[in-house]
């Protein structure tokens, strides 16, 4: 499966309060509603700028802070297809795998705001179409690819009833 979209660029240390503020997330489980407020404290117009398939591109330590799973769920429901960053905070990383939001670690200095991106997760290739370059990405470990390919941890448990990586 190829993911295609344009880049929305952010800096280092984007925390989960910026992704979805606590003033919204404790009130509801309606992710479509939460999605309208995604990244709001960094860019109030963000939600309306997204075309389905677009990717969030960031620097180091994306998703640091709280363990709220509403962060990847709000991103998914804002029609973002993947998050690309230099590195991720570990709880956010787990939450993305578990909720089925693809994430990619690579050198994001080679991507500018608005660049067209083409991501092939199976082959492990991220192409910056605008700049005409392929950017090497860190491959996902087997366990995580398994959960992602099952469609997230809920689907994995529906299928096996427990963890099954054999």
């Amino acid at each position: 499966m190829n993911l295609k979209g344009k880049a929305h660029k952010f800096g280092d240390d984007v925390n989960t309060d910026y992704i979805i503020s606590g003033r919204y997330k404790f009130k509801t489980l309606d992710m479509k509603e939460l999605a309208k407020h995604v990244m709001e404290d960094l860019d109030p117009e963000f939600y309306s700028k997204v075309t389905p398939g677009d990717m969030i591109v960031a620097g180091r330590n994306f998703g640091c802070g709280s363990s709220r799973e509403q962060a990847p769920l709000a991103i998914i429901n804002a029609n973002i297809s993947a998050v690309v960053a230099k590195s991720f905070a570990r709880i956010f990383y787990r939450n993305c795998i578990n909720t089925g939001l693809p994430l990619v670690e690579c050198d994001t200095d080679q991507i500018d705001e608005g660049d067209e991106l083409d991501l092939d997760l199976q082959k492990g290739i991220l192409r910056n179409v605008t700049k005409g370059i392929d950017i090497p990405i860190t491959p996902l470990p087997k366990v995580m690819l398994k959960i992602l390919s099952d469609g997230g941890l809920v689907e994995h448990f529906k299928k096996y009833g427990t963890f099954n990586f054999d």
Partner: protein
């Protein structure tokens, strides 16, 4: 080759001879969720087709993030948790019982050598009593309460050797803020932290919790300490479960070893809007503050309340300031009443609120207005954290918060300590 504490606990619990970077599936001793994360987990539990949790005595849910409920939507989510707790017979803590990270160790649920997950990022707190505990999200929580298992990437470890002794007026909060400032917000990402040395041994167990609590603010998966005599006495006082402490081998392999002498450390402050934006209090002293917060899973324990009360006793907070006090649990609250600490806070002009997380996380109980500065004993100062993205949050020790409330400006607490 020797092993770190993290490698040993994950080996013990997975039955595999695990080393850093291996991926293991391990047995959990305890699993916890709070009201910001449990409702989604309950939804995932149902979607996964589960009927029963793996062991009701090893699962807890805590209502602390919005306690008592300030909104109808929140009330509905709380009801889902109460219904689930009734149905499953799990350990359940309702409004007023306290903050999850105080309750889990205080109520004796965890002991040295345990492996624990909690759907809250500050679950790393129990590392102070030699527990490998780490934060996860709601779907992991659901998988954990169903199977009693979780997958882990065995982390490398960064070791902090802390020599010397903290001077008067300088506390474990100052020490952990200083370390986060030094290694930065992602200095320990994907890693476990181990905190060792005479400066740690010198601290009470309560003060140690403050350090492990903030390990996540340097990106760490857990903030581990060895169990010494103080730990063992504290755990026996709170739990009847048998336990075997886990120590690192002398030849354990570390990703990094950082050594410090803390003898000349000053009180520290983290300025807006990142926790690693740390300086000695002298660099920001004089900054006006309109609100103070004393409490949270970082610094809402009895020792913290005693330190702040020692400074506030017989004094009044400055005109134009307000101070919110939230004890970390019901039993701390009760003991603080018995000791007369609550009388000191109320007479000083503070507003005491229900034990819980509200003021820290911006759900209720003290959302600041635009342009205001807050000085807080919490662990995060992100923009918008307290519910207003136009406010500014400074993080400090209970002593620095109390002193700053008396002057209305960020103040070195040593001015009030002989």
């Amino acid at each position: 080759m020797g092993k770190t504490i993290a490698e040993k606990i994950l080996s013990n619990k997975s039955g595999v001879d695990a080393k850093a970077n291996d991926i293991v599936v391990a047995d959990l001793d305890f699993v916890m969720g709070q009201d910001g994360t449990s409702p989604l987990a309950i939804q995932a539990f149902r979607e996964m087709g589960a009927r029963r949790v793996f062991d009701p005595s090893r699962v807890a849910m805590v209502i602390d993030h919005s306690a008592p409920s300030p909104l109808l939507g929140v009330s509905e989510l709380h009801k889902q948790m109460r219904d689930f707790a009734d149905e499953q017979g799990i350990c359940f803590y309702d409004i007023g019982d306290g903050v999850c990270h105080q309750l889990v160790p205080e109520q004796g649920h965890v002991v040295p050598g345990d492996l624990v997950i909690g759907a809250d990022s500050h679950t790393c707190t129990y590392g102070a009593i030699n527990v490998f505990s780490t934060g996860v999200g709601s779907t992991d929580l659901a998988a954990g309460i169903i199977s009693g298992k979780m997958w882990f990437k065995v982390p490398e470890t960064i070791k902090f050797v802390l020599n010397g002794r903290l001077p008067a007026g300088v506390y474990s909060k100052d020490l952990i803020l200083f370390l986060i400032g030094d290694v930065t917000a992602d200095g320990a990402t994907y890693m476990a932290a181990e905190f060792v040395g005479p400066a740690i041994q010198d601290l009470s167990v309560e003060a140690r919790f403050t350090i492990s609590n903030m390990a996540i603010e340097m990106g760490a998966k857990c903030g581990l300490m060895e169990a010494d005599e103080k730990t063992i006495a504290w755990v026996k006082q709170h739990s009847s479960r048998p336990f075997t402490p886990v120590s690192a081998d002398p030849d354990a392999v570390y990703a990094q070893v950082k050594e410090y002498d803390v003898s000349n450390l000053e009180p520290q402050v983290a300025s807006p809007h990142t926790v690693d934006n740390v300086s000695p209090v002298s660099a920001v002293a004089g900054t006006p503050v309109q609100q103070g917060v004393l409490g949270t899973c970082t610094n809402g324990r009895l020792e913290d309340l005693r330190i702040a009360a020692g400074i506030l006793k017989g004094r009044k907070i400055a005109k134009g300031t307000r101070l919110v006090v939230a004890p970390a649990s019901r039993s701390i609250y009760l003991q603080a009443i018995r000791e007369g600490l609550m009388e000191i806070f109320v007479e000083a002009g503070a507003a005491v609120v229900t034990p819980g997380c509200g003021p820290c996380v911006g759900t209720h109980n003290g959302v600041p207005s635009d342009g205001e500065n807050v000085i807080s004993t919490a662990n995060r100062n992100f923009k918008g954290r307290m519910g207003n993205n136009k406010a500014f949050i400074y993080l400090a020790s209970p002593a620095t918060v109390a002193a700053s409330m008396l002057t209305g400006r960020i103040t070195d607490p040593r001015e009030f300590i002989n």
